[in-house]
């Protein structure tokens, strides 16, 4: 039970980040390797607003997400927009450059020390023989609400239909009057906001450190690739699956003889995905593009 709850907590965070990214990949066809840094920007900005400026938590979280949106917008205009129409692989390299710069700035501003948005002790609730904090329950609930909202927007609104049209065929959608470049910007900013919210959750549930960025990015992309690139729901399901694998790797007594040390959690999950992709490279839920 505790393993499932832990997987739900870690999976909710990963799903939030991977969901936004899957949309970006589906719409723009580019990978953003500065994603982990955008997560940290949201977390650190919230920490700064709450701890240093002593603003109320809700205002700080809102401010953190807005700063995340602004950074994502600037990143799109400078590091993605001038490149992705030339070759869709170029932003992968330019966002690596961006990730280095953000890492440097975060280290200069906040140093390498761990930072926690809520420094006080958390309220723990017992669910049977498992334990979960109120903040973690809140994280799971918010992620669930956001995913439902995302499903509603994508499947029941005009803007959702436009997004799906651009995902299926960019040029065909533009020929029908859909402003694809505007949608590209919007989607990138929304993914930045979701990433920033992920950073807020990390800052509330655990600690923020600059070294977190790359593992977050790689795990989110592993979920996208394993879920079938561009498939939003595939990415979200795989984010939860990866979290479950990570928890099972360290939480189960293997062959009744030994436990895998917690430090190997990430490696085992990544190696498992690499092996899985060797045999099913299209991922679990590959979508087929329509061609004109």
């Amino acid at each position: 039970m505790q393993l499932v709850i832990n997987a739900l907590i870690a999976g909710s965070l990963a799903a939030l980040i991977a969901g936004g990214l899957a949309l970006v990949y589906g719409v723009l066809g580019v990978f953003n390797l500065a994603l982990g840094q955008m997560v940290l920007v949201g977390g650190y900005a919230t920490w700064w607003l709450y701890q240093s400026l002593a603003l109320p938590l809700v205002v700080s979280v809102f401010g953190g997400v807005m700063i995340g949106a602004i950074v994502a917008w600037c990143a799109f205009e400078v590091f993605v927009a001038p490149f992705y129409k030339r070759h869709r692989f170029l932003p992968l390299v330019t966002t690596i450059a961006l990730s280095m710069m953000i890492d440097g700035v975060l280290l200069l501003l906040f140093e390498a020390r761990p930072r926690s948005i809520l420094a006080n002790a958390k309220t723990i609730v017992a669910l049977g023989d498992a334990r979960i904090s109120l903040e973690q329950m809140f994280l799971i609930a918010i992620t669930f609400i956001l995913l439902c909202l995302c499903a509603y927007v994508l499947h029941s609104t005009v803007i959702g239909r436009r997004i799906r049209a651009v995902v299926q065929n960019d040029h065909a959608a533009m020929s029908l009057g859909i402003n694809a470049p505007l949608l590209h910007r919007m989607i990138f900013i929304v993914s930045g906001m979701l990433a920033a919210l992920g950073g807020v959750f990390i800052g509330i549930d655990q600690n923020l450190t600059p070294t977190l960025a790359f593992p977050i990015t790689i795990k989110a992309y592993a979920a996208i690739i394993a879920g079938g690139k561009g498939n939003l729901w595939g990415a979200i399901i795989c984010a939860y699956l990866i979290a479950l694998i990570e928890q099972m790797v360290v939480g189960i007594e293997w062959f009744g003889a030994f436990y895998v040390p917690a430090g190997y959690q990430q490696s085992v999950a990544l190696l498992f995905i690499i092996l899985f992709l060797l045999f099913k490279p299209s991922g679990l839920f590959m979508l087929k593009n329509r061609s004109a």
């Binding site: 330019t94 280095m100 200069l108 790359f214 992309y221 690139k229 990544l270 995905i273």
Partner: protein
């Protein structure tokens, strides 16, 4: 100041060049989206030096172990590259690197985790820094010459043709699997050569020298020097290493003893500043070479 700094810079450039030039074959010439080169160095360095230092075995056996591990990992990467879309392969090659690094950091009973492996020996005839530099330079020159002629051989032309248009290249009899596998093996050999020299130069095998920023540095050398260009990448690597070492020179104990402070910045600021600076250089290099890095496919 200049001689000690120059000797250190030249040595490091000579040590780094084999892996950069090897990687240039895959990423620069072949345009294969591979970001696992530092992972290859890592998987070559640890078996090599652990066999010699931890298990007290013959250096020759250590070298064989390092080479075998590097080549097997290169084959795995090549296989992965055939199975996945190019960008997905790029991300998964980073994942493989992170997974290997994570195992090394956690397998403390053998690798000593983040502390690294100290007392890495040098060959007796390379005990002094001067001789070490000469040997490293000679090996680097031999490797660059080999890659230079390989670049102009049938293999180089096949690799270039595949990077321009895979289907057309295959239609004229170029075998992608064979060519790309060979390219990955060359990259692994380059990584192995660097792994032979680098830890023994520092007398320390530290996992912190094999993190993702090291990979970014290699990518930056390729992009700045011109992807696929052997001499351009060589020049860019030498210049960027001189810049990088110029910035960090205050951290090197034996240089500090000489009283040299190339850039008087506190160490806590130096690291982040270097990240920002190299990020800017990489971005500027990509901007400058945005048409050459991933050229549009030729059409008939």
């Amino acid at each position: 100041m200049s001689f000690a700094f120059l000797l250190h810079g030249v040595t490091l450039a000579a040590i780094t060049l084999p892996t950069v030039i090897g990687y240039n074959v895959v990423f620069g010439k072949g345009k294969v989206f591979h970001f696992g080169q530092v992972g290859l160095s890592l998987i070559a360095a640890y078996p090599l030096w652990l066999t010699i230092v931890h298990f007290q075995q013959n250096p020759l056996l250590g070298s064989v172990m390092g080479m075998v591990f590097a080549l097997l990992t290169a084959l795995l990467l090549a296989w992965l590259s055939f199975r996945l879309e190019p960008d997905a392969f790029g991300v998964m090659s980073i994942a493989l690197h992170l997974a290997i690094l994570n195992v090394i950091l956690n397998w403390q009973s053998v690798t000593r985790g983040a502390l690294g492996v100290p007392r890495i020996p040098r060959w007796e005839f390379m005990a002094t820094n001067g001789i070490f530099t000469i040997v490293a330079v000679l090996v680097a020159v031999a490797w660059i010459t080999f890659i230079f002629f390989l670049d102009r051989s049938r293999f180089g032309r096949a690799l270039a043709a595949l990077s321009e248009h895979e289907w057309y290249a295959e239609s004229i009899g170029i075998r992608r699997r064979m060519t790309h596998t060979l390219a990955f093996l060359i990259a692994a050999a380059g990584a192995f050569i660097t792994s032979m020299f680098f830890p023994s130069y520092l007398y320390l095998l530290s996992p912190s020298d094999y993190t993702f920023p090291s990979m970014i540095f290699i990518v930056m050398c390729i992009v700045a020097g011109g992807p696929g260009k052997v001499l351009g990448v060589t020049l860019a690597t030498v210049l960027l290493i001189l810049l990088k070492e110029g910035l960090r020179i205050i951290e090197i104990p034996w240089v500090m003893e000489t009283g040299i402070q190339f850039v008087p910045i506190p160490a806590s600021i130096l690291g982040p500043v270097r990240l920002i600076l190299f990020g800017l250089i990489l971005f500027a290099a990509v901007w400058w070479r945005r048409d050459a890095l991933f050229p549009t496919e030729r059409r008939v």
